[in-house]
Symmetry: C2
Subunit: 367 residues, 2 copies
Amino acid sequence: MSDDEFVITYRVRGPLEEVHARAGAIAVEQSHEFPTAYAAEYTHRSLGRVREVREVADDLADVSIVYPEALAGHNVSQFLVMLFGNTSLLPGIQVTDISYPRTWLAEQPGPRFGVTGLRALLGGVQGPLLASALKPVGLTTEDLAALAYELAAGGADIVKDDQGLSDQDWAPGLERVRASAAAIRRANEETGHRTLYFPTFSPTRDYRDELAALADAGATGILAMPGVDGFQLLRDLSTDPDIALPVLAHPSFLGAFVADGTHGIAPDVLFGELLRILGSDIAVFPSYGGRFSFDREQCARIADRARRPLGELAAQMPSPGGGMSLERVPELVEFYGPDTVLLIGGELHRDRAPRAAVREFRSVVGR
Amino acid sequence: MSDDEFVITYRVRGPLEEVHARAGAIAVEQSHEFPTAYAAEYTHRSLGRVREVREVADDLADVSIVYPEALAGHNVSQFLVMLFGNTSLLPGIQVTDISYPRTWLAEQPGPRFGVTGLRALLGGVQGPLLASALKPVGLTTEDLAALAYELAAGGADIVKDDQGLSDQDWAPGLERVRASAAAIRRANEETGHRTLYFPTFSPTRDYRDELAALADAGATGILAMPGVDGFQLLRDLSTDPDIALPVLAHPSFLGAFVADGTHGIAPDVLFGELLRILGSDIAVFPSYGGRFSFDREQCARIADRARRPLGELAAQMPSPGGGMSLERVPELVEFYGPDTVLLIGGELHRDRAPRAAVREFRSVVGR
């Protein structure tokens, strides 16, 4: 951290002399975006500058660029514009690290609940948490509610909507949410266990009314998709003055930033750190060994960034998903540690007995 | 178009037999996201299916997948989730074409103004339009307003904020917008020419109040960044019941979808078609021959998709930018045609006489 500057590290492909030129171009693109020759008198307070270019391999170097704090303009969007806005259009450049101005970081609320707050909402449970999803899309309102009941009755900590559940004719929006929420409430009353329910939320200009309707329908958490619906949404939800619900960030569309390992935003920075700063309590990401392509090292880094000390920000729960199974739980728990939300979706249904599968999870993790 | 199905074409890398397997996986990932073996009874109405796999080169094939219309769930976000949500996390897959259900497309309002409406707002001007930007970040409110006046007095059609202008201490948000808007209004009154002013808009949960404040401050257009602030924002702005302003979509952060030519969403589909369907009147994209990396063919396709017949949707103005100069205007006009907004930023300042530079543009294009 520094007093009044961001230092952003970009990993840049290319021969070293070319990287030096690209570094200078990034510093301008992400700040002035103006030909430096015509802008000399304005450079003192708003121009990025290259601090260092470090070769890390053949045709690969880490470039550190310093930006004045003021560029971020006190809002989430402008911070992201400064971080990688136009440079997103240039191939072979990846954000790999960010150092924040102390004052700026202190202004970021971060997760409202975080690891500690989430455990409190769940009645103080210890150990790894289990999330599962209401799916597949195509189930009726009744079938989804029945599944929600089974998952909650088995003792899942979090039941989330599949991100594809929306306003389909066979399971229309709020009616569906109300039915699933009621089923989970009933299971909670019967078992004494607390299961939280995170419906998918893609707001329009009527954010306030829509969020209120979702809370009124029984949501006890919110699933948000910042890649689709904007990054500010995490901030809006995590600081909403009227409705305080934990926020789960789903990676839909965010893959554009991470699928090409040489471009975008490093997965640990995106899922572990940026989503946390923006206010997500739980960050879902594709785990190693599933259907997607992060390796073990990347996953370990995501989990580390989500939980390590960062200013005064609460820790975020990493939530590895994407092809997880019960058989892998011991390995995943050993790898990710207890402050983790294991997201097991379709594989809980293998024996068509999701309640028993959830119980098996709890027994495997000693809960 | 079809009656009730989307057909989405993905270009997939890999040996042909592997592509066949990946095609099946995409169809599931983007619809059920559920192990097919456990979901047999729900497949009829919600499961994607592979229609065709066509090899187009070694290790490259076009995969067409059919999705039921209902998956899109009557909202922008769910349509995007279906299009490329989780699959964004898989490398080597690019959306290259979309065929829409007739009824779904008919429900999309698209651009509120489009090419014709924008020309009407500008007093019926013919020929290529010129947009320029208030920049660099670092100028004071007064300096920005003075620049706005010069650009408008010279006869620019559109003056937009640099996307990095925000709430910086030396040029705070609404005060800055008011000053620039007033300067443009004054120039318009003096010259009889109409220049529109598009400030940057990154709303929070208070969208309605913030948009009203911007309009009240004198905005006559809106610059939106769907990559940062969500795709729904374009729909919200283009259908706002109270404030009807043209919308310019800026590519900040959208580069993540296009910088890697083997992954994401093809530039013509993203800039030319999706932004248009979502409601942008003007799509800014990096032109060939500038600082970014699209080639001529990609740029021609973007412009074509922006303007070609698509249901009843108004045509969108393509706006090539990113390192344009006055010298290139004749070539760019010949290439892109008259229904184009040429975005020339920094290079208008080369001789420190932006008003004269704008006049030169108009003379070059015969206006």
